[in-house]
């Protein structure tokens, strides 16, 4: 499933984020996101605003558009 389809507080494993815009992909990698790493969707902001993720103790915010391009497997 897609990262954007998770509900609040769902924990999932990232399986593929190669479709995301290259700049965002680079930043995600720099922030420690990689294949098979665990992320938790904290919440989505209203009106299709960005979503907040938690991964190994840090909080990252990402647009829903980008979250729609990240494949995850729900735990």
């Amino acid at each position: 499933m897609l990262l954007s389809e998770l509900s609040n507080n769902d924990i999932a494993r990232v399986t593929d984020f190669s479709k995301v815009h290259i700049v965002i992909q680079k930043r995600l990698r720099q922030l420690g996101i990689k294949q098979d790493c665990e992320v938790c969707l904290i919440r989505k902001l209203p009106f299709g605003g960005p979503c907040m993720l938690e991964s190994s103790g840090q909080c990252i915010s990402l647009r829903l558009d980008e979250a729609r391009l990240i494949e995850v497997q729900k735990k």
Partner: protein
């Protein structure tokens, strides 16, 4: 003895500037979000000879945004520097990526393991001796905020040698190693100051600034060939997505091992109260209202509840006792009328007219510092991102805009941390429309004179006006010039920190000091000049004001402003001088009508109607960015065209808008 040069380097928001301030005893801007420091800053070390350089934070030596590029260029060009790598102990793994890249460049490095207290709270205990052994460079645990471990770091700095040929050589596998070797052979004759292996690796990693360095070499296509070949081979033989990916993975697995050996993790739990605050301030329904409420409170504190009464007190003090003492002293020492006029009508009126607003400006800066230090700034970006997306920008643009309320110059600079060049440029065009602290005296003066009963509301409407015009301009730019370019958004949200009083006070003072300094230099000089122009005329000195040079100069451009309602030479002269710095408008007015600020208000009501006064304030807000802001835009855009456009956009929008306000207002009978 040659002076030592040491640079601070590391991930964003890890406390580099905090440490810089502790080591140098100076003060640079600190805050709690990624990208506070956007340029290289130099200070002198407290204890020993040498200079300390503060660099912007980087996630990698391979840069994405403009502030990160500053660091890459520094690493390529400076060969003498030794480094202190600040590592956030609570995010060890990803911080070590920068450490590895620095060690590959040279082992003239000390690791400052910062925020060990935060890490401990999260249940991670780091064996720094073990880490030191494996990395082969000194590792000093510190807590920069409370200055713990600074002495040990200082001792290490004294011992450190700035030159060493020792580097860390990770093994990247046969394919990449061969490519590196080939690159090194090609690079051998070139006059490159730093490790050639490092240059080769960064090139293979796709570092554009290293590419630029090699771009001018005739064998550039040989380099590209080597990279291309290696990537193809890697893809075919090992099924890796890209060179970059493989290089990253190699480092990652090295770090993985490193961390396993030197970190004991007890329980891993993120801090709870950050999550609790976030559940409120980024709440579905409350997020935007809370942001607006905070802005409103900040505004009311400045203009109504706290700042305004304080400014009034100061005004009474300057207009009363100070002027009285000065008058008598001048009388006593028998100063000529020329000197008396210069001091009382020129300097006291001009500089004093601006200085009375210092309390309000300090209140404003205190509120801004509180926002910056707490960590809320990063939350603003996500709360506002959806709105900014509709005008083709991203939430990060809001940081420069909020900083712009203090002063537009650091606002323009702050745009550096925005990744997309187009988003950054548009943000720089928007920032001059923010009502900075220099506009505050103008608003306070006019609103006090004409809208005494609902002063705060009128000023608030001007703040909002500035934002609305900026948003419209952004929408216009992103749907015309930059139609094709998508905006991007990704933001790291740091944990909240309880702001420290010491830091807050320091930050407020440093910002406010700039305003006072401006009053002592620019505004002092401007006041003297304006006073002289109003004192002298073609027929000699001490002429009637209407016969002065100032009246002549103002009179020439006055007709332009006739359709806007303020076509007098006085208003034109004030606008002209306001280009220098917007506070000077108040000084000029004080001098022209040569009455103290308190009486100036009643005097002005004879010259302006409320409608014209409102139009005049709106015009001051928008018309032309002050000289310092224009210079900042020029420096940051590297483009004459965009600098010129930012002036044009300002002037045209000011003229059109005030024309409409005045004409419509007149029709409605105001």
């Amino acid at each position: 003895m040659t002076a030592q040069q040491i640079a601070l380097i590391g991930n964003p928001n890890t406390g580099k500037t905090c440490l810089f301030n502790a080591l140098t005893g100076s003060y640079q801007y600190v805050g709690n979000w990624s990208g506070v420091t956007v340029e290289k800053k130099v200070g002198y070390l407290r204890n020993q000879q040498g200079t300390l350089i503060d660099l912007p934070g980087i996630y990698s030596v391979n840069p994405i945004s403009a502030d990160e590029a500053v660091v890459t260029d520094f690493l390529i060009q400076e060969d003498c520097a030794s480094f202190v790598n600040i590592v956030d102990a609570s995010q060890l793994k990803r911080n070590l990526h920068v450490t590895i890249q620095l060690l590959e460049r040279g082992k003239n490095l000390i690791v400052g393991l910062n925020m060990i207290d935060v890490a401990k709270k999260r249940g991670a205990v780091i064996d720094s001796a073990r880490l030191q052994e494996t990395l082969g460079v000194p590792v000093v645990p510190i807590i920069a905020r409370t200055e713990q471990g600074i002495d040990q770091l200082n001792q290490q700095l004294k011992k450190s040698k700035s030159t060493t040929n020792d580097v860390l050589s990770l093994y990247y596998g046969t394919i990449i190693e061969r490519a590196i070797q080939e690159m090194e052979e090609e690079l051998a004759p070139l006059p490159i100051k730093v490790s050639k292996r490092w240059i080769a690796l960064q090139f293979l990693d796709g570092n554009q600034h290293v590419e630029k360095l090699l771009d001018s070499e005739e064998n550039f296509d040989v380099f590209e060939n080597i990279r291309e070949k290696a990537e193809q081979k890697l893809k075919k033989e090992q099924r890796v997505a890209s060179l970059t990916q493989h290089i990253h993975d190699t480092r990652e697995s090295y770090i993985e091992k490193l961390v396993q050996n030197s970190v004991v993790v007890n329980t891993s739990r993120t801090n709870n109260w950050t999550e609790k605050i976030d559940s409120i301030v980024t709440n579905k329904f409350l997020g935007i209202p809370i942001f607006l409420l905070l802005m409103y409170v900040m505004f009311m504190l400045t203009f109504d509840w706290l700042g305004f009464p304080l400014s009034d007190l100061l005004d009474a003090f300057i207009a009363g006792p100070i002027t009285f003492v000065l008058e008598n002293t001048l009388e006593l020492i028998g100063a000529s009328t020329f000197i008396q006029s210069l001091i009382l009508d020129g300097i006291v009126a001009g500089v004093g007219g601006v200085l009375v607003f210092v309390p309000q400006i300090f209140v404003l800066f205190f509120c801004l510092s509180l926002l910056e230090d707490s960590g809320y700034m990063a939350r603003v970006t996500i709360v506002m991102d959806r709105l900014m997306q509709t005008i083709g920008l991203n939430g990060k643009s809001f940081i420069p805009l909020i900083i712009g309320f203090g002063c537009n110059v650091p606002g323009v600079m702050a745009a550096r941390s925005i990744e997309q060049p187009k988003d950054r440029l548009v943000t720089m065009m928007m920032t001059p429309f923010m009502s900075c602290s220099a506009r505050l005296p103008v608003y306070a003066l006019f609103a006090g004179a004409f809208f005494a009963s609902n002063q705060a509301l009128v000023v608030l409407s001007l703040y909002v006006l500035g934002i609305v015009v900026a948003l419209i301009l952004a929408k216009f730019l992103s749907s015309t010039t930059f139609k094709e370019q998508k905006s991007l958004f990704i933001m790291e949200l740091p944990p909240y920190r309880l702001p420290q009083w010491r830091t807050l006070w320091r930050a407020t003072w440093e910002k406010g000091k700039g305003f006072i300094r401006k009053a002592g230099t620019y505004i002092f000089g401007g006041s003297v000049l304006i006073w002289f122009l109003s004192y002298a005329g073609p027929s000699g000195l001490a002429v009637e004001m209407d016969e002065s040079y100032l009246a002549m100069i103002g009179g020439v451009i006055a007709p332009i402003f006739e359709p806007l309602g303020f076509g007098t030479w006085q208003a034109s002269a004030a606008l002209l001088t306001g280009v220098l710095a917007k506070e000077i408008v108040v000084s000029t007015m004080s001098i022209i009508y040569f009455v103290p600020e308190m009486e100036l208000q009643s005097f002005l009501s004879d010259q302006f109607t409320p409608l014209i006064a409102y139009g005049f304030m709106a015009f001051i807000l928008l018309y032309i960015p002050c000289l310092a802001t224009v210079a900042a835009v020029r420096k940051e855009t590297h483009s004459r065209k965009w600098t010129f456009l930012s002036i044009v956009y300002g002037f045209v929008s000011a003229y059109v808008l005030v024309f409409v306000i005045y004409q419509v207002g007149k029709l409605l009978g105001y």
